[in-house]
């Protein structure tokens, strides 16, 4: 027998997709009682990640409808459990992609909950009590304190919301793969939600940053508005040739199927190409240039809670937030259509507190 969304004691309200049309509409559901380890949060803002769109439309084939997306949440604490020391009522906090994990395995012990085989995601997962998790396109959320982030006071809560996913998704591999040596050359492939934050974080690390794109229109944006040092148009063979073997690392944020050969060619000896986008088909990997240049292709998936906090503090120090378009909840379906066409500079953020009304 299916468990009703209204199984928990606290009433909640949000917007959910009911089927693979991906169309979102008002949805009444419930949140669990605030237990000893929990924090209840009133949602102020929630970023619209491209993953939300994929899940809403069941692009990856494992959406469990109804789905309330949203994992770039910034809000205010309204209640804390007895075991909670780190937060108090009124604190500004964030919740990202993870709300639970096994807490016992090697990866959890290393603060890498994102690689735990039993990660519980903020939405479209099942919690320890087997009930469904619902995300941040909603008025309140109850989260175990371990997975709640302290949101820095000097960061704008609306423009800072996308850091909870987009931010950590590019920050984590930049740290892990050692892409932080000042003066080194970072390529950022794709200038969207992930890409534009990678540019800002890259500059904050003291790197030279080149935006790599197939869209000539983005050059001005990349260099004048975002502060990238240069722009490389993939479809310009002369420029591409001139840039071969010049980059120490590349963060590839492109989630469509695309050619890796030119990107691998752009890397210097021992160069690293890290992919954070999720195309829905395998990519072609040319081996010769990999072998002859001792290059590598690596993957990375969000980040652990500890490093998410580190990322937020880093962004607060360097005044890094996302470039956003603030929208009302009832604009979400139009926003999703525009997102599918990459028609956003560079993240929609829902003003949940002001616009989510029953």
């Amino acid at each position: 027998m299916a468990i009703s969304p209204e199984e928990h004691p606290q009433k909640a309200f949000g917007w959910a997709a009911r089927d693979s049309s991906g169309i979102l509409s008002p949805f009444r559901f419930s949140r669990r009682e605030n237990a000893d380890d929990d924090v209840t949060i009133k949602v102020l803002y929630c970023g619209v990640c491209h993953s939300d769109l994929h899940f809403a439309k069941n692009d990856w084939g494992f959406t469990n409808y109804p789905v309330v997306p949203g994992h770039e949440i910034v809000g205010v604490v309204t209640k804390t459990g007895n075991n909670v020391d780190k937060f108090k009522v009124g604190d500004r906090v964030g919740v990202g992609v993870i709300v639970g994990s096994c807490m016992k395995c090697e990866t959890c012990q290393q603060d890498l909950e994102n690689y735990c085989p039993r990660t519980i995601f903020t939405y479209n997962s099942h919690y320890h009590d087997q009930t469904k998790t619902y995300g941040g396109y909603s008025d309140i959320i109850v989260v175990h304190h371990r997975y709640v982030l302290r949101f820095p006071d000097n960061l704008a809560p609306d423009a800072g919301a996308p850091l909870l996913c987009a931010g950590i998704t590019v920050y984590s591999p930049m740290k892990y793969y050692g892409m932080t040596e000042p003066g080194k050359h970072l390529g950022v492939a794709g200038l969207g939600g992930l890409g534009h934050i990678a540019v800002k974080i890259g500059k904050a690390f003291g790197l030279k940053v080149t935006v790599i794109s197939s869209s000539p229109a983005k050059e001005d944006e990349a260099t004048r508005r975002l502060g990238a040092d240069s722009f490389l148009l993939l479809s310009d063979p002369a420029k591409l040739k001139g840039a071969m073997g010049t980059m120490d690392y590349i963060i590839d944020t492109v989630s469509a199927v695309h050619a890796l050969a030119p990107l691998i060619g752009l890397l210097k000896l021992n160069g690293k190409l890290v992919t954070v986008g999720l195309p829905n088909k395998p990519l072609e990997l040319p081996i010769f240039p990999l072998v002859l240049g001792r290059k590598l292709v690596g993957g990375s998936d969000i980040g652990g809670v500890k490093e998410t906090q580190e990322m937020l503090d880093f962004c607060a120090k360097h005044n890094i937030t996302s470039d956003i378009e603030l929208i009302h909840m009832d604009y979400i379906n139009t926003a999703m259509e525009r997102l599918a066409k990459s028609d956003v500079r560079y993240r929609f953020v829902i003003d949940v507190a002001s616009s989510l009304t029953q």
Partner: protein
């Protein structure tokens, strides 16, 4: 006017070379340069046959120039050293691998990674600084710049040491560079052939647990009983592969044919590394999801720098590591190459004596199979040694 190979240099030399892309090797008179002030001259005693030799003599990569005299797993005894040479003396056992020269000034050269120098000069089939062709080790003497020569410790048998100059460093280098050398780690080795069995020996000597991964179930007993592998997986056996999911810190993949990467990526633990040594002639499919979900890496590696080649030889001497070899005769080499191509090679071949230039000499050939069709034919003892006396 183009000088003949015999006239290019002052010192006569003799070897076997391919004249065209038929790849047929035959006796070849040529010449070597005088021993320059930084050079080491040595009599070649053994030379390995690497699969790359086969690719080159048949122009499979489209960049061969003829006549092409292969051989880059060369060991011998020093007969003369240049006036500025301090590291070597007459009588030393030495070896030369894939490299004969490099620019000596780029970032790669100055970080002991001349194998990645864009101007690296190969021991055979290339062009030296003076514009003359480089001729490899299927010959009686070699002259090489001392920077590209390694000392072979007396304790290491020369015949079994020869393949280490290529197969050895090719597998040793990535184990070290990618940190797959900590005792207790679990490493997989794909391909139970020339590269694969040397990788296994190095990995065991480093204190690793090693699983051999192969398409051929017949190799299991040899791998475990004779070579000391801890376990063995048949790569197309889904049950076996599934049982090993997420168990390996790294995988050294020696297979050069096109093959699926997805099952190998699945064998890796989180943060695991899959290092490719073989170069298939087409791109492979990169499964992105599992790479992301486990923060895993796929990388490539080719041979190694001179410092690490010496380090590898010294490590091999310390741990008594040589390649498993067989001996054949030089006049069998064309048949051997044809059988290599058709994967129709029996690994036990007879040793014979042949007259060369009026002296009694005997030649043994050395073969490293690196492609899957060869693996089950040549077996684990798939090395033929070319012995030049």
């Amino acid at each position: 006017m183009v000088e003949s190979p015999e006239q290019q240099h002052p010192k006569k030399a003799f070897g076997w070379a391919a004249r065209d892309s038929s790849g047929v090797l035959s006796p070849f008179k040529f010449s070597r340069r005088e021993t320059g002030k930084n050079d080491v001259r040595f009599k070649v005693l053994y030379c390995g046959i690497c699969h790359t030799d086969l690719h080159m003599i048949k122009n499979e990569w489209g960049n061969s120039t003829y006549p092409l005299l292969p051989g880059h797993e060369i060991v011998g005894v020093v007969t003369e050293v240049g006036t500025k040479v301090e590291k070597f003396k007459v009588g030393d056992h030495v070896g030369v691998g894939y490299m004969a020269g490099s620019c000596q000034s780029c970032d790669s050269c100055s970080t002991n990674a001349a194998n990645y120098c864009p101007k690296m000069i190969a021991t055979s089939g290339d062009q030296y600084h003076d514009g003359t062709p480089t001729y490899g080790g299927y010959s009686d003497i070699m002259v090489a710049n001392e920077h590209f020569v390694v000392r072979i410790p007396d304790s290491l048998p020369l015949d079994g040491a020869a393949p280490l100059l290529c197969a050895g460093v090719t597998t040793y280098s990535p184990l070290r560079y990618f940190g797959l050398d900590k005792p207790g780690m679990h490493v997989g080795v794909v391909g139970v052939g020339g590269l694969g069995h040397v990788a296994l020996k190095f990995a065991k000597a480093m204190g690793l647990k090693v699983t051999m991964i192969s398409t051929s179930p017949k190799k299991k007993e040899e791998a475990i009983e004779n070579l000391g592998a801890d376990s063995f997986l048949v790569s197309h056996d889904e049950g076996q592969m599934q049982g090993a999911v997420g168990t390996m810190d790294g995988i050294i993949d020696t297979v050069s044919a096109v093959h699926p990467l997805l099952p190998l990526v699945g064998l890796l633990k989180s943060n695991g590394k899959l290092v490719l040594l073989g170069v298939p002639d087409k791109p492979l499919e990169l499964p992105v999801f599992p790479l992301l979900m486990g923060r895993k890496i796929i990388a490539g590696s080719v041979i190694g720098g001179m410092k690490e080649t010496q380090e590898m030889i010294d490590f091999a001497a310390k741990h008594n590591i040589t390649a498993n070899i067989e001996v054949i005769s030089i006049d069998y080499v064309n048949t051997a190459m044809k059988r290599l191509v058709k994967a129709d090679v029996k690994y036990r071949l007879t040793f014979c004596i042949r007259n060369v230039q009026g002296k009694v000499s005997f030649w043994t050939f050395f073969v490293i199979p690196t492609t899957p069709p060869l693996l089950h034919i040549i077996g684990l003892e798939g090395f033929w040694v070319l012995f030049l006396y």
